[in-house]
């Protein structure tokens, strides 16, 4: 037996060390993590189990039940469950009652299309109380496919306290139905490339973050979103979307404070719906807007955005991103909604422009902006997201000041100057949705 001279305890097998740690009071147990890398790795041990696909729900609930935050010896936070031919589920318990279920290892080349129903209503309360002292509040479902979806559904229906659900990267998922009338507060659906239809039954949903092609969306009950992200640069995923159907969607985002929207969505879906509203429709509470656009054919067309801005009296921060890969409406459709009376934006303090083709475009946008704002906001521009310049207006009387980029348009009224900004974070944070988890699509 080769044993490091002097340090015998570290050479003990893992199970004995676990036993030792389990006998320590909590404060001392934590100290052991810092002893050396070998001790730290103890805490990363994964439980490995094998079984069939049908065993997945029981394995996960057993894993949750066994997890005891107060008992270091039962602190295995990772489970690798091997099922079927080569299916692997990686389950991780994270702080703040989060559970990750990742089926990524199970991914196939050509996933089969499937529909998925997730029910989170505690109506089927089982008679025995949940033995687990660990109540999952946040659940990540990653790379679920047609093989694992049923197992996950039955597992998820046991999580009676679930408030946050994140569904990420599920290939083959065509239709999704989520039923959680009272509990679910936050729903995130990212990168499910085949999603065509989405049905949500909920009264309480306040945050909805969506990235992917825009599905046919049916919010069965009305809920008021405070935070809505509709990043559908990939374009429409539905075949038809009746205006009357989209009205319901529009009502859910009507009171949101934070919104991410693509221009084509505004043109194709929101505008027709707006026309059907008798009264003046406004996004009264909208404070922070991220507008995603694509200046196709080299023409910068800001009409849609300007129209939209007229609907947002409370707007404080505007972020505009020009993404060359973003979907563009096939016909040069203009929004026919004529906004009647509107007040100039009093509160707009910050505008951030990213990805504009050239400085002329940025300047022309700034000029258009003049028409709708009451107070000059701070305008920051960047081409790459790293270096920012502050676009300021200078009166053309001050002609002795050097002009970095004179432009024929601006000479009419004002000149514009770009000043490099050193410390961007001082000026403004990013839009809330830009820094959400998995935002960088690094998954």
């Amino acid at each position: 037996m080769e044993v490091k001279a002097g340090d015998f305890i570290s050479s003990l097998p893992d199970e004995i060390l676990f036993h030792i740690i389990s006998l320590l009071p909590f404060e001392s147990a934590i100290q052991t993590i810092f002893l050396s890398t070998r001790w730290r790795f103890l805490w990363n041990l994964a439980l490995v189990q094998h079984g069939s696909k049908e065993d997945v729900p029981t394995a996960v609930s057993g894993f949750l039940t066994n997890f005891d935050e107060h008992n270091p010896t039962r602190n295995t936070r990772r489970l690798r469950f091997h099922f079927g031919a080569d299916g692997v589920l990686s389950a991780i318990i994270a702080p703040n009652n989060k559970l990750h279920l990742d089926f990524s290892a199970d991914n196939q080349e050509h996933p089969r299309q499937f529909g998925w129903q997730i029910e989170l209503n505690p109506q089927n309360l089982s008679l025995q109380p949940t033995p687990s002292s660990f109540f999952v509040k946040t659940l990540y479902l990653i790379s679920v496919n047609h093989l694992s979806s049923e197992a996950v559904s039955s597992m998820v229906s046991n999580l009676q306290l679930l408030e946050n659900l994140k569904i990420i990267g599920c290939n083959g998922l065509e239709s999704l139905s989520i039923d959680s009338e009272r509990k679910l507060l936050n729903l995130t659906i990212f990168d499910c490339p085949h999603l065509k239809s989405l049905h949500i039954r909920s009264y309480k949903l306040t945050t909805f973050l969506y990235r992917g092609q825009f599905p046919w969306f049916w919010p069965e009950f009305h809920f008021n979103l405070a935070n809505a992200m509709l990043d559908s640069r990939k374009g429409p995923g539905y075949s038809t979307f009746q205006t009357c159907d989209f009205d319901r969607v529009l009502l859910t985002i009507k009171n949101s404070e934070i919104l991410t929207l693509c221009k084509w969505t505004f043109q194709a879906l929101i505008c027709p719906s707006l026309s059907s509203f008798q009264a003046d429709f406004q996004f009264y509470r909208l404070k922070e807007l991220w507008w995603i656009d694509n200046h196709s054919k080299g023409v910068a067309n800001n009409d849609a955005l300007i129209t939209f801005l007229k609907l947002c009296p409370s707007l404080e921060r505007l972020f505009v991103t020009i993404d060359h890969n973003s979907y563009v409406m096939p016909s040069a459709a203009t929004c026919s909604k004529q906004v009647g009376r509107y007040k100039k934006l009093q509160h707009l303090k910050l505008v951030k422009l990213e990805g504009f083709a050239n400085q002329d475009d940025e300047i022309s946008f700034a000029e258009r902006l003049q028409d709708v704002v009451a107070v000059e906001p701070l305008i920051l521009t960047t081409a790459d997201g790293m270096c920012f310049r502050n676009l300021t207006k200078i009166s053309s009387h001050e002609s002795h000041e050097p002009e970095e980029s004179p432009s024929p348009i601006s000479q009419e009224r004002y000149s514009y100057m770009f000043v490099q900004v050193q410390n961007i974070n001082e000026f403004c944070p990013k839009h809330a949705h830009m820094i959400s988890l998995y935002c960088q699509k690094n998954h």
Binding site: H19, L24, Q31, E69, N96
Partner: protein
């Protein structure tokens, strides 16, 4: 249970009765001692043979199972050295009557064991690994308790010194571990290193 014939004559008891009594006593003591002397033969890695009472030897679940397979022959323990095995058996003899309830062993080391476990860490290491491989849970538990007493209440640096643990973290790793740990502690009740 020693019983000599001579005593009966001097007590003046009826010889026939006494004969029957003594025969049954002899039979009883024979049976008893043969039961008592059921011995397991165990051979350690260095080819030393130990004769241990079965009750003592089967405190080890491993030996119990192997005895079932060997049925009377010599049980080979290929990874236990005789010196350690001798100690283990010594402990088992002391505790053969204690019963299987682990609760009994919880808490501070019993007085009789305090000296037993005051050995240097190398011996303790071997005791624990042997208790583990022989599956003697109470011994394992008590041995661990010894380490627990050495770790409990001490700072990381003190523990390292006492147990001769080398700190192989780089500064960055150590900071990262610290940050990850403390940023995740919520009411001292949850933590994770991912």
């Amino acid at each position: 249970m020693a019983f000599t014939w001579s005593k009966t004559i001097y007590m003046g008891l009826d010889p026939i009765f006494l004969t029957e009594l003594s025969i049954s006593i002899i039979i009883f003591s024979t049976i008893a001692s043969s039961k008592k002397s059921r011995v397991s033969k165990i051979k350690t890695a260095d080819n030393e043979i130990f004769e241990v009472e079965e009750a003592v030897a089967t405190m080890s679940n491993t030996i119990k199972i192997m005895a079932g397979d060997c049925s009377g022959g010599v049980i080979p323990l290929n990874n236990v050295h005789s010196t350690i095995f001798a100690r283990v058996i010594e402990w088992c003899k002391k505790h053969v009557d204690d019963g299987e309830d682990l609760e009994y062993y919880k808490g501070a080391l019993k007085n009789c064991d305090a000296t037993f476990f005051e050995v240097d860490q190398a011996v303790l290491y071997h005791l624990l690994t042997t208790a583990n491989s022989l599956d003697i849970k109470p011994l394992l538990h008590q041995g661990c308790q010894r380490f627990v007493d050495m770790i409990n209440g001490k700072t990381v640096e003190e523990i390292r010194q006492l147990l001769h643990i080398k700190n192989d973290f780089t500064n960055e790793e150590e900071d990262e571990t610290r940050k990850k740990l403390w940023s995740s502690v919520v009411g001292m009740n949850s933590f994770i290193l991912l």
